[in-house]
C-alpha cells in the first residue's frame, strides 16, 4: 500500500513510517496541514494517516477539504484525544478509523491494512470464503468443508469481521470497537474468551487451524 502520513511531530512521523515500512508499505511523510492536503490530493495513495492536531490546518479540516475535493482514499486519524465524542468528530469529518495515541505498532499496522481492504472491497458481497470456511451473509449460515457450523449472533458478527479482514492481523481493541461497539477496554480477557469459543467451533474438528493468535498483537484468520 502507498500511505501518506501527515504528522507534524517528526519523531512520531518517522515512527509511523518505520512501522509501516517494516510491514511492507510505501510511506510518504508530510509535516503540515496545507502541503499535506495538496500532496494527498495529487499523489495516488491507498490510505491517509492524519494527526488531528496540525500546524496551519488541523486534521479534521484537512480531511473535510480532502473529501469535499473528491478524495476517496480511506483515512485513519491519530490523536491524543480519545473520548467517544472525539472519535465521532473524526468520523464525521470523513475519517474511516480513529486511533488514540499512544498505540502499539501492531495496532497501527492492523488498522491501516484494514483500511486498505475496505477501499478495495467496496462492492457489497453476500458470500465470504476463507479456505474451506464459507459464510453466507444473506442466509446467515456458516459452513466449513460443507459441514454446517452453528454460531450465536455475536459469534457470527465476530467471524464476519475476521473473514472480511482475512490474512490481516486484527487487534482486540478493533474487535471491541467494531464487533461490540465498545470504546473502552474491559480489564479481563473477554475478547480472548470469545475468540477461543469461536475457534472451538470453526477449528476444533478440523486438521488445519484457520484462526491464529498473533502474539502481542491480536488474531488473524488465514487459510
Amino acid at each position: 500500500m502507498r500511505v501518506i502520513v501527515i504528522e507534524d511531530d517528526s519523531d512520531a512521523a518517522s515512527f509511523v513510517k518505520r512501522v509501516l515500512s517494516e510491514a511492507g508499505h510505501a510511506v510518504d511523510i508530510c509535516g503540515d496541514g496545507e502541503s499535506g492536503l495538496n500532496q494527498a490530493r495529487t499523489g495516488d495513495y491507498d490510505a491517509l494517516v492524519v494527526d488531528r492536531m496540525l500546524p496551519g490546518m488541523d486534521g479534521l479540516k484537512l480531511l473535510k477539504s480532502y473529501r469535499d475535493g473528491g478524495g476517496r482514499a480511506p483515512a485513519l486519524f491519530l490523536s491524543a484525544l480519545g473520548e467517544v465524542d472525539h472519535r465521532v468528530e473524526g468520523l464525521q469529518a470523513g475519517g474511516d478509523d480513529y486511533l488514540v495515541k499512544p498505540y502499539a505498532p501492531s495496532e497501527l499496522v492492523a488498522r491501516v491494512e484494514a483500511l486498505g481492504r475496505r477501499a478495495t472491497g467496496d462492492i457489497p458481497t453476500t458470500k465470504l470464503a476463507v479456505g474451506g470456511l464459507e459464510m453466507d451473509l444473506l442466509a446467515r449460515s456458516v459452513t466449513r468443508d460443507g459441514q454446517k457450523i452453528d454460531l450465536q449472533p455475536r459469534e457470527f458478527r465476530l467471524l464476519e469481521f475476521l473473514m472480511r479482514h482475512a490474512g490481516q492481523v486484527v487487534t482486540r481493541t478493533m474487535l471491541l470497537e467494531k464487533v461490540w461497539d465498545y470504546h473502552f477496554d474491559p480489564q479481563t480477557n473477554v475478547i480472548d474468551v470469545h475468540v477461543s469459543r469461536l475457534r472451538g467451533k470453526i477449528d476444533k474438528d478440523f486438521e488445519r487451524p484457520l484462526l491464529h493468535t498473533v502474539r502481542g498483537a491480536g488474531y488473524r484468520l488465514e487459510a
Partner: protein
C-alpha cells in the same frame, strides 16, 4: 455602621428604592393633607370671603344713594353687631362711622380695592383683653372717602395655622421616618449582599470550604446563598478530587515508573545475549500499565466534570443483555456460575457507552475477585420507588462495611487486592458514571455466606 460607609449605603439599590418610596410617600401625604386643608379651613375661608363680597355689594348699592346714605347704612350695620366690622372715612380722611378708629393699612388709590390681614384688640366675653386677627377689604370711594369691611378670623386663623402646622410637621416626620426605614431596610439588604460578596472573596482567595450564611427565612437572599453554597460544594468536591487525583497519580504512577526505570537500567547492564531484549519487552508491559492508569484517570476526570457523554432515553436492558453475553463465557471459563435476570422496559436517560463501561467494571471486579466455583449474578430491575437498579452480586470476599465508602474514592485498593492487576479506579468510575446520571453507586453484601459475604454493587439510576 461608620459614617464613612454612608456613601456606599446610598449607592445601594435598596436604599435608592427606599428613597424613592419615601418621596412618593411624602408626595402622597402632602396631597392628602392639601385636600384636607382645602375641604376644611379653606372652605371656611372661602365662605367668609363670599359673605364679604355680598356685604360689599350691598354697601356699594347704598353708596349709589350718596355718601350720607352709605354712612347711614354703615352706622346701622355697625350697631347691629353682626359678623362684620366697619370703618368709613370721609373725603378728608376723618372717620365718619364704624367700629375702628384708624385704617390698619394704607388705603388704595381711587376705584381700587385691597384685601388686608391685621390684628386688633378686643375683649373676651368675660371682659379679658385679647388680641385677635381679622381679615378685611378696603376700598377707595369715588369721592375720596374710604370704606373698610372686615371680619374676625381669630378662631379661623388659629385653625388654619394648626392645620398647616400639622401638614408640614407630619410631612417632615413622615419623610424622616421613611428615610430611616429605607436606611434600615437597605442596610440589612446591603449586609446580606455584603456577606455574599465576602464569601466569594474568601473562596476566591482559596478557602473553598467557606459558605454563605443561610438564615432559614427562605427569602431571595437565602435562595441565592443556597445556590451559591451548592455551587461551592460542587466546586470544592471537584477541586479536592482533582487534587487528590494528582496526589494519587503521583503515588500510583511513581512505583511502576520506578520499576520501569530499574528494569531498563538492569537491561542495559545485562550481559546475557537475550537479557536486554527481555527487559525491553517487559518494559513495554510496564508502560502499557502506566498508560492504562493514565487513561482511566483522564476518563474518570471527564466523567466527573460532566464533560462527556450523550444522554438519550435508553432501555438499559439492551446494555445488560450485551454485557451478559460478553461476560457469560468469561464466567464459564473461570468456572463461576453466572445468572442473569432482567425486567423489561427499564428506561433511563443514559449514555450507553458510560453505563456499559461502569457495569463492565463491576463485572470485571466480580470475575476477578470471586474464586472458582463461586456465583456471579447480573440483575436489572425496577425498585419499589421506581428507580432502575443494575446490580452485580458475587460470592467473593466482599468489602467490609467500614471500607465501602472509601473504596469508591480514586485509587483506593484494599490490602488483599493490591496483588491483583488493576488501577483502583473501577469503582470510582462506576460511581462517577452513576453521579453523571443523577444516580448513585451502592455497595452491599452479595451472595456469599456469613464471614465471607460477597459483594453486591448496584447502580441506582432515576427512571426516564
Amino acid at each position: 455602621m461608620k459614617i464613612g460607609r454612608l456613601p456606599a449605603l446610598v449607592r445601594t439599590t435598596t436604599f435608592r428604592l427606599a428613597l424613592l418610596h419615601a418621596s412618593i410617600f411624602i408626595l402622597f401625604t402632602a396631597s392628602l393633607l392639601a385636600y384636607l386643608y382645602y375641604e376644611t379651613a379653606g372652605h371656611l375661608d372661602r365662605q367668609a370671603g363670599n359673605e364679604l363680597n355680598a356685604e360689599f355689594q350691598e354697601l356699594s348699592a347704598a353708596y349709589r344713594g350718596g355718601f350720607d346714605r352709605l354712612n347711614q347704612s354703615v352706622i346701622e350695620r355697625s350697631s347691629a353687631r353682626g359678623k362684620f366690622f366697619y370703618l368709613l372715612l370721609d373725603g378728608s380722611g376723618v372717620k365718619a362711622s364704624g367700629d375702628f378708629d384708624v385704617l390698619p393699612a394704607p388705603a388704595p388709590t381711587a376705584g381700587q380695592v385691597v384685601d388686608v390681614n391685621f390684628d386688633y384688640d378686643a375683649r373676651t366675653p368675660d371682659g379679658q383683653p385679647s388680641r385677635r386677627s381679622a381679615q378685611g377689604r378696603i376700598s377707595r370711594l369715588t369721592d375720596g372717602g374710604v370704606l373698610m369691611v372686615a371680619y374676625d378670623v381669630g378662631e379661623l386663623g388659629e385653625m388654619n395655622r394648626r392645620i398647616s402646622d400639622v401638614v408640614w410637621r407630619s410631612a417632615a416626620v413622615g419623610f424622616v421616618l421613611s428615610l430611616i426605614g429605607g436606611v434600615v431596610i437597605s442596610r440589612s439588604a446591603a449586609q446580606r449582599a455584603e456577606q455574599l460578596a465576602k464569601t466569594t472573596e474568601v473562596v476566591m482567595a482559596g478557602d473553598l470550604s467557606r459558605r454563605a450564611p443561610v438564615f432559614g427565612s427562605g427569602d431571595e437572599f437565602d435562595r441565592l446563598s443556597e445556590q451559591l453554597n451548592a455551587m461551592l460544594a460542587k466546586l470544592e468536591r471537584l477541586v479536592i478530587s482533582s487534587r487528590s487525583a494528582g496526589d494519587s497519580i503521583a503515588h500510583d504512577l511513581r512505583s511502576p515508573l520506578t520499576r520501569l526505570r530499574n528494569r531498563l537500567e538492569g537491561g542495559l547492564r545485562d550481559t546475557n545475549a537475550d537479557g536486554p531484549r527481555q527487559a525491553l519487552a517487559r518494559s513495554i508491559d510496564d508502560v502499557d500499565g502506566v498508560l492504562d492508569t493514565f487513561n482511566a484517570v483522564l476518563r474518570l476526570s471527564r466523567v466527573q466534570a460532566g464533560a462527556t457523554g450523550s444522554f438519550k432515553r435508553t432501555d438499559v436492558v439492551g446494555i445488560t443483555n450485551e454485557l451478559a453475553e460478553l461476560y457469560q463465557p468469561v464466567c464459564e471459563e473461570k468456572q463461576l456460575s453466572f445468572e442473569y435476570a432482567c425486567e423489561p422496559d427499564l428506561y433511563v436517560l443514559a449514555d450507553r457507552d458510560l453505563i456499559a463501561q461502569a457495569m463492565s467494571n463491576l463485572m470485571d471486579n466480580a470475575v476477578k475477585y470471586t474464586p472458582s466455583g463461586g456465583d456471579v449474578r447480573l440483575k436489572a430491575r425496577r425498585a419499589a420507588n421506581g428507580d432502575i437498579e443494575l446490580s452485580v452480586a458475587d460470592s467473593g470476599p466482599g468489602i467490609p462495611a467500614q471500607d465501602r465508602e472509601r473504596v469508591i474514592e480514586r485509587f483506593v485498593r484494599l490490602e488483599q487486592s493490591r496483588s491483583e492487576p488493576g488501577s483502583g479506579l473501577g469503582l470510582s468510575l462506576a460511581s462517577a458514571v452513576a453521579e453523571a446520571h443523577s444516580g448513585s453507586l451502592v455497595l452491599g453484601d452479595g451472595l456469599g455466606l456469613p464471614g465471607r459475604p460477597g459483594l453486591k454493587a448496584t447502580l441506582v439510576l432515576p427512571a426516564a
